[in-house]
Amino acid sequence: MIRIQNLVKTYGAVRALDGLSLEVAPGSVYGFLGPNGAGKTTTMRILSGLARPDAGRAWILEREIGRSGADVRALIGVLPEEPAFYGWMTAREYLRDFAAPLQGIKGAAAAQRTNELLAIVGLAEAADRRLAGFSRGMRQRMGLAQALVHRPPVLLLDEPVSALDPAGRKEVLDLIETLRGEITILLSTHILADVERVCDQVGILAKGRLVVQGQRDELLARYAAPLIEVEAGDGFGGWLDWARRQAYVTSLTQSNHTARLLVKDVHAAQQSLLAALAEQRIPVQRFELIQPSLEDVFLRLTEKEA
């Protein structure tokens, strides 16, 4: 559905994309994660035809970007990170008289689609207000509406909920969830909770390269190392040095009265660590197995790259 092969893009001395390759399966919601400057927006700009790669190729629905130009753009709906509109137009005018006709939808069909979209993104009451007066959150909703106007098979969403309040964020994420299976969505974001909620595929980008990609649950299973947190109000005595020497402990950090241990074998670690704490008569206030999150995977992989 979306295929990227060895994309390279440089801006002066900065290599924004360094041989990026990835594939997005049809009908999936692909979470495109990465720290600032990882190359997410550059990838989006290339896919939407606003920038050209220095090397490499990309396809949407088997049509190559940059070759068939306008044909590819008819297949995508794009929501940039900061959607901008003509302030003198109203929301209704922008969708009905501009965005829809540019996608070949005119007359009554454009008016009907406009009403539908304004209701979907929660802007029906602001339909006849000038866009110049819209808040950032309203502009983002409007951006989503214009991206969906022609029912595209592929949506490119760059930080679609970053400007929204919690209620707005939930509504937009719910909307994205309803589109799952129907259209393919490439969603770039830095809000990991949103990715965990709506994305079924995840790609983590760092320094212009794809560090890892796969099904969300598969990545969690593969990369999110189990973490044990132990809190002891009177200190750990010699237990920390003992724990560090155990084969199943891959790393150990301590701050104040809390020790954090990354372990390979959760079962063995729980039994052995607890027994040693009891043996050394250390008063334990908390012993907790932390569930791994996508954030842990993200931080671990991007820190490793850095």
Binding site: R45, S48, G49, L50, A51, R52, G69, A70, D71, R73, A74, I76, V78, P80, E82, P83, A84, F85, Y86, W88, M89, D97, F98, A99, P101, L102, Q103, G104, G143, Q146
Partner: protein, 252 residues
């Protein structure tokens, strides 16, 4: 597709008051030119203690004075308005991000440029229409009827002349990434055209000769400036074509 882009441009001119301001300035220019020609000598003559010899030297105003005033005012205000109207057209869209929104849609980039060029030329034509009608009406009231065909041809030549600056400003706006650079480019192009036109060996080809030709037509002179018309139309077409070519290759 193209009609949607053109409609948006024309609607934008109307809704952002640019069209109103443009037409109002042109209308005032048209109306005031014959008035200035008629009453300036009277105003000068009314200055107290004017030496008797000097008062006698002030000529009686004629239709030719009204036309000279009209051409001078339309030329000066026209160039300024055309540059101000056009120089931000694409640079502003790039700066504000609306170009990025537009160009992710299935539109040809050259269609975007052509829509802006055509809308600009349309607004210019409307401006010259009210300008010319205002001048014609007041000249008729204050002096005599102007020869309609010659006056129409004069205005068409002014239209081509101002169209050259519109196309150059559009090119500057396309090449520039922001409005400041676009303004510098547009006014730079104006200076280059005026300086080159003042060189004796280049002046027969200067677009400025078109205005001279138009004035000559009003005076039933045999003067013509076909090479200048050829150069002006070529500059206009090449500037628009270069703007299309440039936008097709730009990263937004």
């Amino acid at each position: 597709m193209f009609l949607t882009l053109l409609a948006k441009e024309l609607r934008e001119q109307w809704r952002t008051w640019k069209l109103i301001v443009f037409l109002a300035v042109f209308l005032i220019t048209g109306l005031i030119s014959p008035v200035l020609a008629k009453y300036t000598p009277e105003l000068l003559g009314a200055i107290p203690n004017l030496p008797a010899g000097l008062a006698a030297m002030i000529p009686t105003p004629t239709v030719a004075d009204a036309i000279a005033q009209y051409v001078k005012n339309t030329d000066q205000f026209g160039i300024l308005l055309v540059l101000l109207l056009t120089m931000g057209s694409l640079a502003q869209e790039k700066e504000r991000g609306t170009a990025a929104m537009l160009l992710t849609k299935p539109v040809r980039r050259s269609a975007v440029v052509l829509a802006k060029a055509l809308a600009g030329m349309g607004v210019l034509l409307a401006g010259l229409l009210v300008d010319g009608l205002g001048c014609y009406a007041y000249t008729l009231v204050l002096f005599a009827a102007l020869p309609p065909v010659a006056f129409l041809l004069l205005n068409l030549l002014i239209f081509v002349y101002l169209g050259v600056f519109l196309a150059l400003a559009l090119l500057a706006s396309t090449l520039a990434r922001n409005q400041g650079a676009a303004a510098a480019g547009a006014f730079g192009a104006l200076i280059v055209v005026l300086v080159l036109g003042s060189l004796p060996w280049l002046s027969p080809y200067s677009p400025g000769k078109l205005v001279e030709w138009g004035v000559g037509l009003m005076q039933q002179s045999a003067f013509s400036a076909w090479p200048a018309l050829g150069v002006a139309l070529s500059m206009l077409a090449l500037s628009v074509a270069a703007a299309c070519w440039s936008l097709e290759r730009q990263e937004i």
